[in-house]
């Protein structure tokens, strides 16, 4: 009798353990995230982790902050068959090699199930495709434009430029007044260089030519690109970027602009998060317009940037839960909550923003800029940021190589020749990310 009882108890314990194990295996959803301050971590916990777990009692979403080297850690983890359920990449250019290696799950069924095809702007779904299948959805999208110190411009009787010629005339006038025309600096983030290269390509060569080059129809050594980089180099040589470009970091750019030591700041929409920190204390008002284009290009172009994407790992034990968590992030409620507290990093590419009202504290300038960008994208009138559409080695060379041009260690022709050679090699290897048709 005792023996029977022992066996029954043992079986019951084993079954219980197995069931618990099975439930646990289906429950946890892991997500690795990049650097976030304690305040930003609190915003994510309040607006994503806690409400998701409350709405999905069977799942348990957890987030692990991995710092600036997340991308490298993710690659190694996926290679060894470990890593999180939700794969957070540094942009579409990283998706193709991962999909090629079978590290990501196709998301087409989830897109159908959750209605992503209607809810997310189509151009962004195109970016996440590889061999016709959807592998990633962009977390946020951004654009480049021209911030300016509206108070400073008003004091000097200047107006925001609407063409490249006006931009140069204004910059020259600022130089004459001992004001740095472009508040800029790459001290902590060397790829800042590519913000200016992206602007030059779109505003001077034009997005149509960039599209052709990305598809291999014209080389990067073509005349429009030579003209764009030559003009960018002229701006550097004239001193538009100021004497401290290699000393200043991204936040100091905003501080310099707010203090009136610089008049304009060609930069991205992520800088909106610093505007309120520096402008009110300096009694100054900020302005933001599209970066002016040449006459041939026409209206200001908003280059489209995607700096991070979501995928589901092929090895995930809970792919349904991971997809549900991604879906939760793409809801109107999450968009409203995240953008109210943290502008510039959670601009998820939702098709319809008409039902969204951000909190009263949100800078109207930010809301306007995002609406203008969404409108441009919906009408297929957008440009291309290099970090989103160039393959990795080409992008890496483009960032460092432009410094050689600026500092006279290389010519524009040499720079573009190496850029093109690197791009052609990566194109042959299938590393160019998906380029949505125009």
């Amino acid at each position: 009798m005792e023996r029977r009882l022992f066996i029954k108890t043992a079986i019951a314990l084993m079954a219980g353990t197995a069931l618990t194990g099975a439930a646990l295996a289906a429950g946890p959803i892991t997500w690795w995230y990049e650097t976030a301050t304690p305040e930003q971590q609190g915003v994510i916990t309040r607006n994503i982790i806690e409400p998701f777990n409350a709405a999905h009692p069977d799942d348990s979403l957890s987030i692990d902050y991995r710092g600036a080297q997340l991308d490298n850690q993710m690659r190694v983890a996926l290679l060894s068959g470990t890593g999180p359920d939700i794969v957070y990449t540094a942009g579409p250019s990283y998706v193709a090699p991962m999909a090629q290696a079978g590290q990501l799950l196709p998301l087409d069924d989830y897109a159908e199930q959750f209605g992503w095809n209607e809810r997310i702007l189509p151009v962004f779904l195109e970016m996440g495709r590889y061999n016709g299948q959807l592998y990633a959805v962009p977390k946020t999208y951004e654009t480049l434009g021209l911030f300016y110190n509206a108070t400073l411009l008003e004091e000097h009787g200047w107006t925001p430029p609407t063409s490249i010629d006006e931009l140069e005339a204004l910059a020259d006038a600022m130089l004459a007044e001992n004001i740095v025309p472009f508040s800029s600096g790459n001290a902590l983030w060397r790829p800042t260089n590519e913000h200016y290269v992206s602007l030059a390509l779109n505003a001077i060569a034009g997005p149509e030519n960039v599209y052709k080059a990305l598809n291999g129809e014209i080389p990067w050594t073509s005349e429009p690109f030579a003209a764009a980089i030559t003009r960018l180099n002229e701006w550097w040589q004239k001193g538009y970027f100021g004497p401290n470009y290699f000393s200043l970091n991204g936040e100091q750019q905003v501080a310099e602009l707010a203090a009136g030591r610089a008049g304009m700041m060609p930069s991205g929409t992520w800088q909106f998060q610093h505007i309120e920190t520096y402008f009110p204390p300096a009694n100054a008002e900020a302005g933001f317009v599209g970066f002016p284009s040449t006459e041939d290009v026409g209206e200001p172009v908003f280059p489209l940037g995607v700096g991070s994407t979501f995928s589901v790992a092929a090895t995930s034990q809970n792919p349904d839960g991971a997809a549900a968590a991604i879906d939760f992030i793409f809801s109107d409620e999450t968009y409203t909550a995240m953008n109210t507290e943290w502008q510039g990093e959670w601009n998820t590419p939702l098709s319809d923003l008409s039902g969204i009202t951000l909190g009263d504290d949100v800078l109207p300038l930010y809301t306007e800029a995002m609406q203008t960008l969404a409108q441009s994208v919906a009408q297929d009138e957008y440009g291309y940021t290099t970090w989103t559409f160039l393959p990795p080695a080409t992008n890496s060379f483009m960032v460092s190589g432009i410094e050689e041009v600026w500092l006279g260690r290389s010519t524009v022709e040499q720079y573009l020749a190496q850029w093109d050679a690197t791009f052609q090699q990566e194109m042959a290897e299938g590393k160019v990310p998906a380029i949505p048709a125009r």
Partner: protein, 281 residues
């Protein structure tokens, strides 16, 4: 039987040093993006390096770095250690002060120098500029970027050498020092004929380790300039890092790592030969 005592360390070395090292050497002959299957390309990565001007800039920078670190910190460290030996009073205090930079994390030191000393906005450099001095941030000029980084590393490094040399100097027989004093030896004669010969093995070891460490330098360069501006402060390890993690060219990065190892191996061989000579004596 006593030979089995080396087995544990041998196993650890094979598992965590030899195997990854051999894999790195093997990878140098493949094209690999770190994600998909590697493709064998023979000497392709080394040929690419040979034709890459950035590689030669990086190699030159490593050689300049080695020469700097073989002279400046060793010279300052020796001088300071000798002074500590001569003026014993307060030597403990100064040892602690000199050694302090060594125990502060590299990232913090680098950011302090970048933000509080070199920066034209928030640093001493900016203060001097506002006072009318025509100073420049050395990290922003191609001609001075490497020296600017080396200055930070030298500042934190020489104190360590000073403490090592001081410890070695204290082992020099007191009778020899006393005898030299009685004979009327000057400070320089004492250094030349008594102290330096007495700590020769320590100096040799430190010089050999300096060569090895100089070819591995990464942290200060990466934090302060990331190899820029315009590749002017690129060193082999930052080139390898950029190749592996930005260009997704892991094979090329492995080839750079092999080049770094060759210099390390030469220095190690030299050290082993020196050690053998010491034993013979």
């Amino acid at each position: 039987m006593h030979r089995f005592y080396v087995v544990p360390t041998l196993v650890i070395n094979v598992a965590i040093i030899l195997v990854p090292a051999l894999l790195t050497v093997a990878l140098a002959f493949f094209r690999w993006d770190g994600i998909n299957m590697p493709v064998f390309i023979g000497m392709g990565n080394f040929q690419a390096l040979w034709a890459d001007r950035v590689f030669w800039t990086a190699l030159t920078n490593n050689i300049i770095w080695t020469l700097l670190f073989l002279t400046v910190p060793i010279g300052i460290g020796l001088l300071a250690a000798t002074l500590l030996l001569v003026a014993r009073r307060g030597s403990m205090f100064f040892q602690v002060i000199y050694f302090l930079p060594m125990i502060i994390a590299t990232a913090i030191l680098a950011r302090i120098w970048q933000g509080m000393i070199y920066s034209p906005v928030s640093g001493v450099n900016g203060m001097l500029q506002r006072m009318g001095f025509p100073t420049l941030d050395p990290l922003t000029q191609p001609s001075t970027a490497l020296l600017g980084i080396a200055t930070v590393d030298l500042w934190h490094w020489w104190g360590f050498l000073c403490v090592i040399f001081f410890a070695a100097l204290r082992q020099v027989p007191q009778e020899q020092i006393e005898a030299a004093r009685i004979e009327g030896a000057s400070f320089w004669q004492m250094m030349r004929y008594v102290l330096l010969p007495g700590i020769r093995p320590t100096i040799t070891l430190m010089m050999i380790m300096t060569v090895i460490w100089s070819f591995l330098v990464f942290d200060f360069v990466y934090i302060l300039t990331q190899g820029g501006p315009a590749f002017s402060s690129e060193v082999l390890s930052t080139l390898a890092y950029r190749s592996a993690f930005y260009d997704l060219a892991v094979g090329k990065a492995a080839a750079v790592a092999v080049v770094i190892s060759i210099f390390g191996l030469i220095a190690t061989a030299f050290y082993i030969r020196e050690q053998a000579r010491e034993f013979d004596r």
